[in-house]
Symmetry: C2
Subunit: 658 residues, 2 copies
């Protein structure tokens, strides 16, 4: 079997993740649907409104409690969406416990309970995380040893697993690949597209097939939401374009509001946790959100439309005719009471409850995503604009007549894509909306609305919600470069206080350096006068050099560092020097007293290197620090943290939150 | 105006390119349609079949001659698709005359004549080139000086112009962005997506709007090809999936055949040109292809279906019902005689003539692309499979019944996407087909067929057709890494014969180095024993050092190099050291006899660096060469050419053409 080229193994690996992921995704969906039916049936047992509410709310509480308990007890790393963590993993920073079997278990079963409970959370983030764990676990098996031997192939495999995850969740293919790129990487190797698409296609096919079998009773590959639009029955005109731009601005602001609630919600919860153990307890917080959710979704309170599962709500918003019936239409409406009281009031209430509950629910200590619920938030807002435009066109037909019929469902699709785009700072949200509905008819309005919304969101907030989450959690991710940061030079951000050692490695210098416990490696110069950078020496090698006693101290230190869930950044590049190091060790054991190995620094910066290039090298080379030289002379060091702080500093001007 | 942040100027620039590009694209389309009508009307003047043929063929000959003449006389750089050249430009290698106003002029008017003549060529490649020239020309204006000052922003702007070009040609948005990435870059900065989408949306909107006004007479944003499929009227089953996989294999082989004809066609033409001036003359070659095209497309010979413009042919193939009528269908059929004689024979003849003529036509010395014509080639082949499957389902209904009705038009769409994907090695061909038809209903079959075809094509041929073109033309592009190349280390490909100079810059060493006329810069070491790499010194600086007389010699050499159309690779990175160099020059003029500037090398390789990393650094840092060190000691050099050759060598095993 070792004769088979590695690229074939790659295809097998990627297909395995996609196919398994697709099946798990369909399984979770079916379990969640059944739990939802159970919730409705149990609630129907009580004809009393208050009694029904307590059953409804109790159900949400019990199931979300199970999800919280599973997460807390088995794998705290599985809480939340997982995408902030994936940002690190896909870029070569290893997080402890993040890709373990335990996390896989919690993501899978925790997700069933958190979604099945009735909390307004999504599956997308956790499910992508699940697929990446799946990919990582498959990689550890014997079959895929040929792949595991190459860091190059591992990276491709994990990126493809990411795409599989998005695709297996939505049944979206191009959108899956694009979204996984936009949320995880800063520099994407084009050659990865092939495996990304392979993973996405296999995931989407299995998910779509099983879903069609279960929900429609026939084999087939229809998507999440059926729509009956096509390019011969829907058209748009120029005037509508301006309404879509307006909708884009509204959705942009909506997205920033979402990001803000989520960001400050996290900080508020952390503050509460510090002040009061009981109020800040994850179980208590979950209870509060669960009862709030119960109030917002109880079918006998606001309306049955309030209790719809996100997918069904989105289907209604995208499909219903303006009069909210579909006479002879192929897609049936899930809630019959959207028009009770007032449609605008209902849609506004729907949007408002979602805008508050989604960004808070995803902060709970359980697996929770935001994508599909946020689609319904944006869908409701888009629908409001669409219904208003429809009425306007009825009043002033001259303005619209001749070439367009207002279709409020298209506005809902545009609003949905734009809002998610604005929340996540991704344009692929639009592509995913197309692929969820298998519908490209509204390509122009949806794309226009989305790019306006993303533009507005980028003006008002520095990052998307995933980056802010990563920042809140203190993850060692490197944000992308925007705004002013690219105007800086390496000299503006370097630390001139570098501790180096001369080539002779004199005992006193070694002792001095060993007092600096934080550093992983030290630069070596030819001598202290010329200061020509020769290479680097690792802290452990230095310890080796210093003697046995110190080694033990070093080990002790290391152990202290390895607390569970403590983030540990590891520079992958180091592994390159592995072979030669081994040889060196062997030589040592044979009794040769050899000079310690000095490793070359593959990347060194010049003082007027633009920060854009420094950032690029940090991203693609996955380094944790780099040295700055002038005519070969060592003059400074730039660390990942330093770079991150500089980006935050330079970019935050003019944004609402930073 | 200098207070306005650069990022806003970027948006203005990208929008300008998109909007202008969209308008030019629509203008070209309208001109070409009118020329096509003129050709038909002129031909109709002769009721005699032979007479009509000579008018038909004469028209093709005259117009294609004008296109060839324009190209030869004004801008030879505008010949062909331009995408191989863009591969270099977008990656920082400047090609002479490639982005000039003259090339813009020829691309615009030459394209009208080459498409209008009736040759079976497409608009996509040349039009993308046109948009990039447009972007470059806009950049040169005073308004965009703030953008021009940053290499970082220039790169984003050119990549966005590329996306605008694809989008303004097809009206495709996500497909435009994706395709432009797949054909030009190896490592894509995710942040460019925003401007890419902005350019694509603006280009697509203007093109779609103007086109709808002209062709449908109403304002609107419908795409190139109308289709009436949607997720409520089309379904597929499991059995069909296997037929689509089979179709994917067929299209993969079809694509490789196309690549092969194009590749060896180029080499044959070059051989003829060397042997015989008249036979190899571009005008003569164009005449031969023009008469062959006349034969293949003359409506009174094979059928009117043979004479359809590619867009109309694709519409028929994608839309017609199996009986090739569309009763009550919203999309009318353009040629009424597809069923004359035998539909399978007609489709096979259509495909065969296209398979031979397209790869040869795009070799002519005129602006010519391949995308839309190749869609019809694949569409015809897909349609054959679809019609066969339809008949099979009628014979064995038990196998298909219950869940699926065979729609041969969907097979045509799948075949079209798969064939173009196979020819270009891109998956975004599928996304473009969705966006051309505004139709995502067949997402699963089209995607499956495309990925199988691309997979087959990658197994059989090392590169897509654009890379082979670039290779044939000797362009200094760096191919992407596939197959075995990533298993090598830096030491396997480095050149150990490096000419270096010691820090003291002794006269005799300088004289010795100056005899090596090919090198642009030399590495500087601290001394010849330790050989520690300090930095580099440019060849011109060395000449400066050596004296005035030698300077003149250097200039003379440079002039000899600057022959028209001679490719000149320039390392952008060099410009970074610009400021400090100026200061140095000033000092010199003041009479200070200063030491010559030694520049730091930002990238240096270690001997067991994987080639994948070396390749990545060449791509993202846009370097032309890099030094290899061991413990700081210079031991070798890797040049772009060396790297390219190594990739060719390692990857070619097992492929048909290399």
């Amino acid at each position: 079997t070792t004769n088979i080229p590695k690229s074939r193994w790659m295809a097998v690996l990627v297909l395995s993740v996609g196919l398994t992921g697709g099946a798990i995704s369909a399984g979770i969906d079916i379990a969640v649907t059944n739990l939802g039916t159970a919730r409705s049936k149990l609630t129907a047992l009580s004809s009393n409104d208050a009694g029904g509410f307590f059953i409804w709310g109790g159900f949400i509480n019990v199931l979300s409690f199970i999800a919280v308990a599973l997460t807390l007890l088995i794998a705290p790393a599985a809480a939340g969406s997982g995408i902030p963590g994936l940002k690190c993993v896909v870029n070569g920073v290893r997080l402890e416990n993040f890709l373990s079997w335990r996390a896989l278990f919690v993501k899978m079963f925790g997700l069933v309970f958190s979604l099945g409970s009735g909390l307004i959370v999504g599956k997308e983030g956790p499910f992508v995380h699940l697929c990446v764990i799946l990919g990582n676990c498959f990689l550890q098996t014997r079959v895929f040893r040929p792949v595991r031997q190459s860091e190059f192939l591992i990276n491709i495999a994990l990126a493809a697993a990411c795409a599989s995850g998005v695709a297996a969740h939505f049944g979206a293919i191009a959108g899956g690949v694009l979204f996984s790129i936009e949320i995880t990487t800063s520099y994407y190797p084009t050659r990865n597209y092939f495996y990304g698409f392979l993973g996405a296609i296999s995931g989407a096919i299995v998910w779509r097939y099983l879903r069609n079998l279960y929900y429609y009773g026939t084999p087939g590959f229809a998507g999440l939401i059926l729509t009956a639009y096509n390019s011969t029955n829907i058209r748009f005109g120029m005037i509508e374009l301006f309404i879509f731009i307006l909708l884009g601005i509204i959705c942009g602001i909506l997205g920033v509001t979402f990001i803000t609630i989520n960001y400050y919600g996290f900080q508020f919860l952390r503050w509460v946790r510090l002040k009061n153990r009981i109020l800040g307890n994850p179980v208590f917080v979950c209870g509060v959100i669960a009862w709030a959710t119960a109030l917002a979704t109880y079918p006998r309170f606001l309306g049955t439309w309030a209790s719809l599962a996100p997918g069904n709500a989105a289907s209604d918003l995208f499909n219903a005719t303006p009069e909210w019936t579909s006479p002879g239409a192929p897609v049936k409406i899930n809630a019959g009471d959207w028009l009770n009281r007032n449609i605008f009031l209902n849609l506004a209430l729907y949007a408002l409850t979602r805008l508050i509950l989604i960004p808070l629910s995803i902060l709970l200590t359980l697996p929770a995503g935001l994508f599909v619920p946020s689609l319904t938030l944006g869908g409701a807002v888009g629908r409001i604009v669409g219904e208003a435009a429809y009425r306007w066109a009825n009043v002033s037909p001259a303005l619209f007549e001749g070439y367009s019929i207002i279709t409020p469902g298209i506005y809902a699709m545009a609003g949905a894509a734009a809002t998610v785009g604005s929340i996540t700072h991704t344009l692929s949200a639009a592509v995913i909306v197309f692929e969820i509905t298998d519908n490209l008819t509204p390509i122009v309005p949806v794309m226009v609305t989305t790019i306006v919304a993303v533009g507005v969101s980028r003006l008002l907030s520095l990052f998307g919600t995933y980056e802010y989450s990563a920042k809140n959690k203190g993850l060692p991710f490197l944000p992308d470069l925007h705004r002013g940061a690219y105007r800086m030079k390496a000299r503006d951000i370097m630390d001139t206080n570098v501790h180096c050692i001369s080539r002779e490695l004199r005992e006193e210098d070694v002792t001095k350096l060993m007092e600096l416990k934080d550093e992983e490696e030290f630069p070596v110069v030819n001598d202290y006068d010329a200061m020509l950078l020769v290479g680097t020496i690792s802290a452990t090698d230095l310890v080796d050099l210093h003697g046995r006693v110190k080694v033990k101290e070093g080990e002790k230190e290391k152990k202290e560092e390895e607390q569970p869930m403590r983030v540990k950044a590891k520079m992958r590049l180091k592994e390159i020097g592995h072979d030669s190091k081994k040889v060196e060790r062997k030589n040592k054991m044979k009794g040769h007293k050899q000079a310690i190995e000095i490793r070359s620094t593959p990347v060194r910066f010049v003082e007027n290197h633009p920060v854009s290039q420094v950032h690029m090298l940090f991203c693609v080379m996955r380094i944790t620090h780099g040295y700055v030289t002038r005519n070969g002379k060592l003059i400074g060091v730039i660390t990942r943290k330093k770079l991150r702080d500089a980006i935050y500093q330079a970019d935050k001007k003019g944004t609402l939150i930073h």
